[in-house]
């Protein structure tokens, strides 16, 4: 069975975003939004990286006076903030918004307009922070913004307010994306894609998104309390008036530690996808892999106090958090063992995506092991807030997230664009990154043990930290060169790379059973799934869903763990209202940095925009009514 050419054209027209500038503002197609989202978060990655290079220049030698203390403090605050809030979590959600519907055989994400709104809110929040920074109003209290240093008394400038509002922007966006992804996964899987046939990556995104729902409200609450402390003189964090400085730390790390896993779990899914494809066999131990992801999601909420071992919390309580912090290594270890087992029995197709995944084994394992050291109260008391922790967190976050993310880009770029990324330049990029990374961050372990604290803009020559810091700087510039190579590769390949075809890696999951790049409706014929790897092996019948409109944005909603067809649903059309509503929301948020009345008056435009967004239109409801009456 196949679709007629005329129907294919009509279907493409139905699901396309409007052309030209209207398309810029009105787009709701998940692929359009996702590509923009990925580009925006990668732009913040590059910006955060440039700030890191400036910091490394300053630290390259002892007693350097290239940057002032104030600017240096702003740089590390902006670097941490960019990487954690504007890059790592959003880019994982952005990639998911592209891939999840394709992997589960859906035509769209759930709530496509909310998806667009979440993207615009994210962009406006990030741009606001960078505009403030470039205008000399950058925050300078660290990405963790501990009170009372971030309170009005010690930081009277507006930088902290911009930082705290940026939290509101990005977490609002993150929460909405989580709702979009969870709903998409639970209700829009192709018929036959039972939970036990879901790709491991989709499982990872389900776990991640549910974690987002519990983790992000904690930091939004904390930052809102900080804003009200600063703006209207509430005293949540003022000890003299019954507030508590540790309240901030509890709330921040109750978000902050799970956040590491929000960044880390999606790449576990990348790795499972890439290993299965390039070892030419399913990843060993599917139930163990899924249970490990779920266990990680639960345990991640029981670790936050290991950031607070130097405070005066009860010792017995700290012991509990040591145990939990050690225990969470187990599910990750199980996944690593399963991947090694897969490689062991596999036949390997050695391509660039696999290289990046193999780097994960070296770097993430090392970062995980230093994590076990930091889980120990006595060791943490020495290592906490030193360069040892800087080394650890970069081994975990670059090894656990950025290396697999680059692997994922090499793997899925053909699907995104229809063209292959250059393989030769890819290998150069990989080796520059891998060597540069270790040259840069391995010496930091030693620096930490030799007593170099974090967040210092300088150090005396007598401390003897100069050589290792110079090495770290050289490595950092190698990483910079590697990222530059990647950007060149992307631009060149997007313009004139080799055509990819439907399934260039002969992979097994659903996204490879449609053209590259996919048509606006993802699949001309929505698939029916009969196995965990629908693109591998014989095609079973029925192969396709039939009966969905080609002139309406209709999707099939399924229900239950087995994804039984439930009902057809019409998805909304492109519209500028998410964009306008995000503008109004931004005006409210930014205005409230200056006056509490912005919350009152700023709510009016938001309410108007949201009302028009949902305003029912007769023309739109007429046809479904007729169809209901006479199907």
């Amino acid at each position: 069975m196949s679709i007629s050419a005329a129907d294919a054209i009509r279907l493409d027209a139905t699901w396309s975003d409007p052309p030209g500038w209207r398309g810029w503002l009105c787009a709701v197609n998940h692929k359009t939004i996702a590509i923009r989202f990925i580009i925006a978060s990668m732009a913040f990655f590059v910006a955060g990286g440039v700030l890191a290079l400036l910091m490394r220049l300053q630290l390259a030698q002892a007693d350097n006076r290239l940057l002032s203390a104030q600017l240096y403090n702003q740089l590390f605050t902006m670097h941490g903030t960019s990487m954690m809030f504007l890059f790592a979590v959003p880019v994982m959600q952005a990639v998911a918004v592209y891939l999840v519907p394709l992997m589960i055989g859906a035509r769209s994400v759930a709530f496509p307009r909310m998806n667009a709104y979440a993207f615009w809110v994210f962009v406006f929040g990030g741009v606001m922070l960078y505009v403030a920074f470039l205008a000399g109003q950058g925050p300078d209290v660290g990405w963790f913004a501990y009170v009372p240093l971030s309170g009005l008394h010690h930081s009277p400038e507006k930088g902290v307010d911009f930082w705290a509002q940026m939290i509101t922007f990005t977490e609002l966006s993150g929460l909405m994306e989580a709702i979009v992804i969870i709903t998409t996964i639970l209700r829009m899987r192709a018929p036959g894609m039972s939970l036990s046939r879901m790709p491991l990556y989709v499982w990872g995104m389900l776990v991640t998104s549910i974690m987002v729902l519990f983790a992000l409200p904690a930091v939004m609450l904390a930052s809102t309390a900080l804003i009200t402390d600063r703006l209207v003189n509430t005293r949540f964090y003022t000890p003299a008036h019954g507030g508590d400085v540790l309240l901030w730390q509890h709330l921040f790390w109750f978000f902050g530690h799970p956040e590491v896993y929000l960044i880390f779990i999606p790449p576990l899914g990348f790795i499972s996808s890439i290993i299965a494809t390039f070892a030419r066999r399913p990843v060993f131990g599917y139930p163990a892999m899924v249970l490990s992801l779920v266990a990680t999601g639960f345990l991640a909420f029981g670790l936050w106090v290991h950031h607070m071992f130097a405070t005066n919390l009860p010792e017995l309580g700290k012991a509990f958090f040591t145990a939990a912090s050690l225990l969470i290594a187990l599910p990750t270890a199980v996944q690593i063992f399963c991947w090694i087992a897969t490689l062991w029995r596999g036949r390997l197709n050695f391509r660039t995506p696999l290289l990046f995944v193999l780097a994960f084994f070296a770097i993430l394992v090392l970062g995980g092991l230093t994590g076990l050291m930091l889980a120990s109260v006595p060791l943490d008391l020495q290592l906490h807030d030193t360069y040892f922790v800087v080394a650890h967190l970069h081994y975990v976050l670059l090894g656990g997230a950025v290396f697999p993310l680059f692997g994922a880009f090499y793997y899925w770029f053909p699907k995104f664009t229809g063209r292959m990324l250059g393989e030769r330049i890819g290998r150069w990029q990989f080796w520059l990154f891998f060597i540069g990374f270790n040259v840069s961050f391995f010496p930091m372990h030693v620096l930490g043990l030799h007593g170099m604290p974090r967040r210092v803009y300088s150090y005396p020559a007598t401390m003897g930290w100069g050589e290792l810091n110079l090495a770290a700087t050289v490595g950092a510039f190698m990483i910079g060169a590697s990222v530059l190579l990647f950007l060149i590769n992307v631009v060149r390949s997007w313009r004139g790379g080799a055509a990819a075809g439907e399934n260039p890696w002969a992979a097994g999951t659903l996204e490879w059973r449609t053209s590259s790049p996919p048509p606006p409706a993802n699949f001309h014929l929505p698939p029916v799934v009969h196995s965990r790897f629908p693109a591998w092996g014989e095609q079973e019948m029925p192969a396709h869903v039939s009966g969905l409109s080609v002139t309406q944005r209709e999707v099939l909603i399924t229900s239950g763990p087995d994804a039984r067809p439930d009902h057809r649903l019409r998805m909304p059309e492109p519209t500028p209202w998410p964009f306008l509503c995000a503008l109004a929301t931004s005006a409210l948020f930014i205005g409230s940095i200056y006056t509490p009345w912005a919350v009152v008056w700023g709510a009016l435009p938001v309410a108007i925009a949201a009302t028009l967004w949902f305003w029912p239109r007769r023309a739109r409801s007429e046809l479904p009514r007729r169809l209901e009456a006479r199907p």
Partner: protein, 338 residues
């Protein structure tokens, strides 16, 4: 890039001592740091073993697995049957990991208990308060009964415990003297405590470890561990008020009052009783200025008095320009505060 680095002017603003004091978690000078070092060595050994095993397993897998291309048909057999051999291997590896983690947990608990059990009979008591960006220490020695206030430099008698009570006047700071012990936070609104014991005489550097604002970098502390007799002599000197100045020094004291230094600083035995900046009663006995920012020499002290904000931007010490003769008198006086 190299050339750029060399072009950057390097001024030795914070080069402190000729012979650097120790600042290294791997060279314990006290029993607490010694316990932690032993735990570190054991943990490092176990983790290195695990890393080597995993790396070997990955490399072996890569070496033995046959090569394929995208044309190779995928192996779908594992979807329909259990691979008993692999399952056994993965289960064993997971079980061994569990045992390793329990071993680490046991070692952590064991060390925590050892740290908490430092004998504190007749311990010296010090109250240490964090300020942006310096340390104020109030000594109370229950054996000699001596009480005095000093700043930025602690002296400890070797082999005798000190119970250090930690407070903060402004933001969160963290005490960290790596050769002696791990860190403890100084939290506004809360009181924390750390027990230190230096077992080897020597000079150990400490530094604030929690980011505490613009000059977090320039918030160092010096700990001098010395034999009990030397410590007693030091404590006795610190407990005395400043000697009455003579000659040019008395003109210096006058300058100290005229230029309103006394608004912030205390010199016991004079009318200067400010409490915003460090106690200066025996400032000449200290090795550094402004919490490890500068060596305590006449030249640096003069520069600091005249223009502190340039040397440590953000400091609350104002620039105090004055005629050369006043400055010289003031420096001569301050140098008598041994």
């Amino acid at each position: 890039m190299r050339r750029l680095l060399h072009a950057i002017p390097a001024t030795l603003i914070s080069a402190v001592q000729a012979a650097p004091s120790q600042h290294n978690a791997l060279q314990p000078a006290g029993v607490q740091a010694e316990h932690i070092l032993r735990l570190w060595q054991g943990t490092l050994a176990l983790c290195t073993l695990v890393f080597v095993l995993i790396a070997a397993a990955v490399l072996l897998a890569l070496w033995r697995a046959p090569r394929a291309s995208a044309d190779s048909a995928p192996d779908l057999a594992p979807l329909n049957r259990t691979e008993t051999g692999l399952r056994r291997a993965v289960s064993w590896a997971a079980a061994l990991s569990g045992i390793g983690l329990v071993a680490l947990l046991w070692a952590d608990m064991h060390t925590s208990r050892a740290l908490a059990q430092l004998p504190a009979d007749g311990a010296l008591r010090i109250e240490l308060t964090g300020h942006q960006w310096w340390w104020q220490a109030t000594y109370h020695d229950p054996l000699s009964g001596a009480r005095f206030v000093t700043a930025n430099e602690l002296h400890l008698p070797v082999a005798r415990a000190a119970i250090v009570t930690l407070r903060s006047e402004d933001v969160i700071h963290t005490l960290w003297v790596p050769n002696l012990h791990g860190k403890k936070d100084m939290l506004p609104g809360r009181v924390t405590e750390i027990r230190l014991r230096a077992d080897l005489p020597g000079e150990y550097r400490g530094q604030c470890a929690e980011f505490c604002g613009e000059q977090h970098t320039l918030m160092a502390l010096l700990v001098v561990a010395e034999p009990p007799a030397a410590y007693q002599a030091w404590a006795a000197r610190q407990a005395r008020p400043a000697a009455a100045p003579l000659g040019q020094a008395s003109r210096g004291l006058q300058a100290f009052m005229d230029y309103r230094c006394a608004g912030c600083h205390t010199i016991a035995g004079t009318r200067a009783a400010g409490s915003i900046g460090p106690d200066l009663t025996h400032m000449a006995s200290r090795q550094t200025l402004a919490a490890g920012t500068l060596p305590n020499t006449r030249g640096h002290l003069g520069g600091w008095i005249v223009d502190a904000p340039t040397l440590k931007p953000g400091t609350r010490m104002p620039a105090t320009p004055m005629p050369a003769e006043d400055l010289h008198a003031l420096l001569t006086y301050l140098e008598t505060l041994q």
